[in-house]
């Protein structure tokens, strides 16, 4: 075991470090490093403008999407170089949040299924942040059961006509393009009647409505399709093969490595170090110490698990399935930590005004955002299904819709 870089890795890190220190937007360091959960703070500056500026600067110097082939706007870097880049980019990396879905999920799907001409046209501008992409998958009737989606695509000449509704689309309101999964044949079993497309988000008939979330923020949208026309040339994969294509997208959810996954541990530690409770200093209280130790051990476990994945990448191996545990552990932990931290403060723990109580406001924000962490990108329950079926090899649950044509599946109404 050896935690140091190889000679090549160290040289690459040096090169990355030099470029970042010469070019990073240092004026954003302070707000970015105090950003809350799922948000990117840029102080007095507009977040989208700043994100696009940093992305373009990186792209012009060959530091955008470094793992992509050069001809599509990348650098042809190795996975471990990509991890090193992420580590060195640090807080500035959070500016790229705007592009994660496009670059991390839409792009691999385009690379696998778009024509060469389309790849040349779209990928470099996606890498440079000049064009933003979103992913139109979830529906009111297709969340965990994604293949239960109902948005229809019907062939009309050389076009497809789209009608239906998507939901939980991040960034739809500032996206230029999107990849869209639709139902093209409702008379075959649900996984077999799907087809994937990409489309211009400014197409006629696309209506984007922001969702006001339970925590008061609006990071997601509903997207309505009313006779939206998409040329057949923008179909990704064969008709009826949309499920297979969507797996390419979902398998490419970025490995949460290189950066650190938020668990709330530093926040609870900082709070109890200062806080006084009935028994005296909170950090001296045995009940507090016990909970804190449990969370530290989990948090260290995630960090060390990520290190194992990086080590595998460094050796040119594929990281193992243990990485699937990250969000499952972090999401629940964040919620538990926030609840416990606020509980220690009594009623003042409920203060959400950061001017009065900056610590508890941050933990309140965590408490109110954490339910979403346990749902988005795979609920805790779906993640446990994935672990038990794909890692432990346990049998699938019995399904009531198995083999039924989509339009014969019971819907409960």
């Amino acid at each position: 075991m050896d935690f140091s870089d190889t000679i090549e890795e160290a040289a690459f890190r040096e090169q990355v470090r030099a470029w970042i220190s010469a070019n990073a937007p240092e004026y954003l360091y302070e707000p970015l490093s105090t950003s809350g959960f799922g948000s990117t703070r840029t102080g007095d500056y507009d977040p989208l403008t700043e994100a696009k500026k940093w992305q373009k600067k990186k792209a012009d110097a060959g530091w955008a999407c470094i793992q992509w082939p050069k001809e599509y706007g990348g650098r042809g870097a190795t996975p471990i170089q990509s991890v090193i880049w992420n580590q060195e980019e640090g807080v500035y990396g959070s500016l790229s949040r705007t592009f994660i879905i496009g670059q991390g999920m839409c792009a691999p799907t385009m690379m696998a299924y778009a024509s060469e001409e389309q790849k040349q046209r779209y990928l470099p501008k996606l890498a440079s942040g000049e064009e933003v992409w979103c992913q139109l998958f979830s529906e009111p009737h297709g969340g965990s059961d994604l293949a239960g989606l109902r948005t229809r695509a019907e062939k009309d000449g050389d076009d497809w006509v789209i009608n239906g509704q998507k939901i939980w689309t991040s960034g739809a309101h500032y996206s230029d393009y999107g990849i869209l999964i639709t139902r093209t044949d409702p008379e075959v079993p649900k996984h077999k009647g799907l087809t994937m497309f990409f489309l211009d988000m400014r197409s006629e008939g696309v209506d984007i409505v922001p969702i006001k979330q339970a925590n008061g923020d609006s990071g997601f949208n509903e997207v309505y399709f009313d006779n939206v026309r998409i040329p057949d040339a923008q179909r990704l994969g064969e008709v009826g093969e949309g499920w297979k294509v969507s797996l390419t997208t979902l398998m490419n959810e970025r490995l949460a490595i290189g950066g650190s996954i938020a668990t709330g541990f530093p926040e609870i530690k900082a709070l109890v170090d200062e806080l006084r409770i009935a028994s005296g200093s909170a950090i001296e209280d045995p009940a507090v110490r016990s909970r804190l130790a449990d969370w530290y051990a989990k948090s260290a476990g995630l960090k060390n698990t990520a290190s194992r994945a990086i080590s595998a990448l460094s050796k040119g191996e594929t990281p193992g399935p243990e990485n699937s545990i990250g969000k499952l552990v972090a999401g629940g932990m964040m919620q538990d930590i926030a609840k416990f931290a606020l509980d220690l403060q009594g009623l003042p723990g409920a203060i959400m005004d950061p001017e009065i109580a900056s610590g508890s406001a941050r933990l309140q924000a965590m408490l109110m955002r954490s339910p979403a962490v346990r749902i988005e990108g795979g609920t805790d329950q779906i993640l446990r299904n994935i672990i038990s079926e794909r890692v432990l090899g346990l049998p699938e649950d019995m399904r009531a819709d198995k083999g039924l044509p989509f339009n014969k599946i019971p819907t409960g109404n």
């Binding site: 075991m1 530290y296 243990e322 329950q381 299904n385």
Partner: protein, 371 residues
């Protein structure tokens, strides 16, 4: 970065695994459990022939000097196979105490006999039914003699020699005593394969460990240091056991049918096993880091060891407990092997002080800016 064990280290693990697979199945454990023999002597000898006891012992003291990373992997196999031999007390505790605090002469005398398996060692600490603390240690050492009673000594029935914490005037110190002629009474434990005894020292000849002699090192802090190092090795035993318990649960859930389907297809059970897997992976990754810290005597060894210990304890207890749950009623029979892991997991949780003790140690060792 290379955060993995080397091929050489894994090869030793594979050898230990194969040996124990062939020679130390559950019937060996049961033979000791049911009192037919105090420990599996044949297995102990077999391990000694392979040099396993001397894995981390320096070559100058008759060991293999293959390092702690290798010893960690050997420990994982010992835990997975529930080997009923006095390995942990001899190697993680007695040999570590000697390596860290023995004088050159003491190391030369005792370590080769541990490394060769010729001798079995242990450590004697607790005297009352409460967890050991500096203020409930009353055994005394003076003029080369040890007096007092140690209530719970793992492998006390079979050990030849022990490191004992005792009072010397106002201070605590560590002394070494041969157990020939010392009064031994077997006591019933949750894991009867640990040959646990009450030891009565009555003017027993003993000598202070060189590193603790002449007030150089307080015996309690020396013990804490030995425990920190042993915690990493016990944590590897724990994840070895946890993995096996999870494997048992998964295998049973695939073959057992109820309501016309394999019970492993029910989400209530799948999610339970997914949680067992998550606990195991977190512990395993913490153990990897702690192994590195142990091998390199890292500054953060205390934190790394405690984190590994806390998460490995949680993982083994969860996996052993829910393995029984997956097996249902059959899991609660003497005949099924689930209780073997349940017994061992509960024993290992307590062997160096319970979970709350290690949680407290972890927080005490955390640097102010820990994240």
């Amino acid at each position: 970065m290379n955060f993995d064990f080397s091929d050489d280290e894994k090869m030793v693990q594979e050898q230990v695994h194969r040996y124990l697979n062939d020679n130390c199945n559950f019937s060996v454990f049961r033979s000791v459990l049911e009192g037919n023999e105090p420990y599996a002597e044949k297995v102990w000898q077999g391990l000694a022939e392979m040099g396993v006891q001397g894995t981390a012992v320096p070559a100058e003291f008759g060991g293999v000097e293959a390092g702690y990373l290798t010893l960690c992997l050997a420990a994982k196999e010992m835990g997975a196979h529930l080997a009923p031999v006095p390995f942990s007390t001899s190697v993680y505790l007695f040999a570590e105490a000697l390596t860290r605090y023995g004088s050159q002469e003491q190391k030369e005398k005792w370590l080769p006999m541990i490394a060769s398996g010729q001798l079995k060692g242990t450590i004697a600490v607790s005297e009352t039914v409460e967890e050991a603390r500096p203020d409930n240690i009353t055994a005394t050492f003076g003029d080369g003699r040890l007096n007092g009673t140690k209530l719970v000594v793992p492998q006390g029935m079979v050990a030849d020699v022990a490191v004992v914490i005792a009072r010397k005037g106002d201070a605590l110190t560590l002394v070494l005593a041969e157990l020939d002629g010392v009064g031994r009474t077997s006591i019933e434990m949750v894991d009867p394969t640990m040959a646990t005894a009450t030891l009565s020292f009555d003017n027993t000849v003993a000598e202070e460990l060189g590193g603790c002699a002449g007030d150089t090192k307080d015996g309690w802090s020396a013990l804490a240091d030995i425990y920190n190092r042993a915690a990493v090795l016990f944590a590897f035993e724990q994840i070895g056991g946890a993995e096996k318990a999870l494997d048992m649960a998964v295998a049973y859930a695939k073959e057992r049918f109820a309501f016309g389907r394999p019970i492993g297809s029910f989400q209530a059970l799948k999610h339970m096993m997914a949680d067992m897997y998550v606990a195991l992976k977190l512990a395993e990754s913490n153990c990897y880091y702690a192994a590195w810290a142990l091998q390199n005597d890292a500054d953060d060894l205390a934190v790394a060891a405690a984190a590994a210990r806390v998460s490995a304890t949680q993982a083994f207890q969860l996996c052993a407990r829910d393995n029984i749950q997956v097996h249902g009623g059959m899991g609660f029979t003497w005949e099924f092997d689930c209780h073997l892991y349940y017994r061992r997991s509960n024993y290992l949780t307590l062997v160096l002080g319970g979970l709350a003790t290690w949680e407290d140690k972890l927080i005490a060792a955390l640097p102010a800016d820990a994240a």
